[in-house]
């Protein structure tokens, strides 16, 4: 077949395909079906032109048409369906969390070990309290004042809650994406948070202010720390995608772990918004009994765990 025969016999269909592709939204079912059939023909014409008439105008036109139509007609992800959000929290999120519970457990264990280390070091090293909390805070503790009091007395609650929410989300996101650096940043943030928590508790206990600190953190602390642990686990999944030995190709491992870690973060991040409201409007209040704060803290944590680790029935 000569070039001119090829062009003259097929050019009409190429032009028609271009028109149909441009008017994709207006096509009825038959039109869409025809488009898909023509798409395959375009691809075949492209391979023929590329092999027989490389570098020609027809080859370039078919190349551009092949790329454009592949992008327009095929989507990497499945199409959105109604109730996708409900199905995400009811099925996808808990399934993914349960599949990676070992990694979450490792993250939790590392956090606890770091916290324990912080407690031991704070008790053993007298000068550590000033390094962690600063001289002004330590002086306040000596006078029986918590540093948390200034958070709400000087800052409007609207600013406080938005600042806390955005800060927590930023920390969670940074902890997660730090896993892409072979887990280095994730582990640093996880261990540092654990160490600080243990050390701060140990220091406040030394100044007999442990109950005041517990009073402040009980409402929001359990869930917030849990999300730090889970976000770190999501980061460790990215790390696994990069370095874990597997019979799967590396690219496939990275995509799989990336998608799973995104699902985990997608299920966790929304909780940080009500958490910020609790931390702003409930935690600092001295008039609310500790038992109420503890009940709220355990309730939100229980709700999160019930959703996150719900056993999902799968069809056989």
């Amino acid at each position: 077949m000569t070039y001119s025969d090829f062009v003259s016999s097929r050019e009409g269909e190429w032009a028609q395909f271009e028109r149909n592709l441009a008017a994709l939204g207006d096509l009825d079912f038959d039109g869409l079906e025809q488009l898909v059939v023509d798409y395959r023909r375009i691809l075949l014409d492209y391979t023929f032109a590329r092999d027989r008439f490389p570098g020609t105008g027809a080859s370039e036109r078919l190349h551009r048409l092949s790329r454009t139509s592949t992008r327009v007609l095929l989507n990497q992800d499945s199409q959105r369906q109604r109730g996708a959000l409900v199905r995400f929290f009811a099925h996808r999120f808990p399934t993914t969390m349960r599949r990676h519970r070992a990694t979450i457990a490792v993250s939790g264990a590392l956090f606890l070990i770091a916290a324990l280390f912080g407690v031991v070091l704070a008790l053993a090293q007298p000068g550590l309290d000033q390094m962690i909390l600063g001289e002004a805070t330590i002086e306040g503790l000596r006078q029986g004042r918590m540093w948390t009091e200034s958070l709400t007395s000087t800052t409007p609650q609207a600013v406080s809650s938005s600042g806390i929410a955005t800060n927590n989300v930023s920390v969670a996101l940074t902890t997660w994406i730090g896993g892409a650096l072979a887990g280095s940043l994730t582990l640093w943030i996880l261990l540092l948070n654990g160490f600080n928590l243990g050390a701060v508790f140990a220091v406040t206990m030394q100044y007999s202010m442990g109950s005041e600190l517990a009073d402040f953190v009980l409402a929001h602390g359990p869930l917030e720390l849990s999300i730090v642990v889970v976000a770190s686990a999501a980061g460790l999944l990215l790390m696994r995608g990069l370095i874990q030995f597997s019979d799967r190709p590396r690219a496939q491992m990275m995509r799989r772990m990336g998608n799973d870690s995104l699902v985990i973060m997608g299920g966790c991040l929304p909780w940080l918004v009500p958490l910020a409201l609790i931390e702003t409007f409930l935690s600092p209040r001295r008039d609310v009994p500790v038992a109420v704060k503890a009940a709220v803290g355990l309730a939100v944590l229980g709700l999160f765990l019930a959703i996150a680790f719900r056993r999902v029935k799968t069809d056989d």
Binding site: P54, R67, I177
Partner: protein
């Protein structure tokens, strides 16, 4: 068979990466390399900076002019700005690529688009993942991009995406009639000339057109006679004779 990718066996970075469409048909993908990616990123960060400064000024003026902040409560203006700044900082690239179907402002200016690794449209999950993993790429992204045949940074690898050149170019000229003895090489030369003729200097344009006519009539005498009856312009003779619209 579902669309997939074809791993490059060669270390030749100049080879155009290929992806597999339906029926395992390989399509060349014009991936965007480090230079154009960096330019697009620079333009995006510049545009983001303008948005943040503009939003800050407008929100401040708005609250001052309307007194809304005093009406709704202390600190709400600043609270809203904190949330807006956070959304801009973390969400600009993601939201832009979702809305623009793979294009941000910078990418649109430079003529780039984010697509799936097999050339398909990328999904929302992919846009979110590749843009969340942007911070580590500040450290190592350029290095990875330069080494990868598909010019993917770390975020692209996790999300299964790549960035391709997607600028609309002038339609390629296609010849409908050929003088006897013309093969693909002659066709390429003629089509390329006709596509670029308008950008050439006029004397050079006429010389090349006359040369092509002579080459065509060397093996097929009189091929362009009918076109000569319509016009005397060598370029138009070439177009009419070769059947280029």
């Amino acid at each position: 068979m579902a669309p997939g990718t074809m791993e490059e066996a060669s270390l030749d970075q100049s080879a155009t990466p290929m992806t597999l469409a339906v029926d395992n048909i390989a399509i060349e993908q014009p991936v965007a390399r480090l230079g154009t990616r960096a330019l697009a990123a620079f333009l995006d960060y510049f545009f983001l900076g303008l948005i943040e400064v503009g939003a800050f000024i407008l929100s401040g003026l708005g609250f001052a002019a309307t007194g809304a902040a005093d009406n709704v409560g202390p600190g709400w203006g600043l609270a809203l700005w904190i949330v807006l700044a956070f959304i801009l900082e973390w969400g600009y690239f993601t939201i832009s690529e979702i809305v623009g179907r793979g294009k941000t402002v910078g990418k649109a200016i430079v003529g780039l688009r984010v697509v799936g690794e097999s050339g398909t449209a990328a999904g929302i999950r992919s846009y979110v993942l590749r843009n969340m993993i942007r911070l580590p790429d500040i450290l190592i992204g350029a290095f990875l991009l330069a080494l990868d045949p598909k010019a993917r940074r770390l975020g692209d690898r996790f999300a299964g995406t790549m960035v391709v050149r997607d600028r609309e170019s002038a339609p390629a000229a296609t010849l409908s009639y050929l003088p006897g003895g013309w093969g693909p090489r002659e066709v390429r030369v003629a089509e390329t000339f006709l596509r670029r003729a308008d950008d050439m200097e006029i004397s050079q344009r006429l010389v090349l057109a006359r040369r092509l006519i002579a080459i065509g009539e060397r093996r097929d005498p009189g091929f362009f006679d009918r076109a000569r009856q319509v016009t005397s312009d060598p370029i138009e003779i070439l177009r009419l004779g070769l059947g280029v619209p």
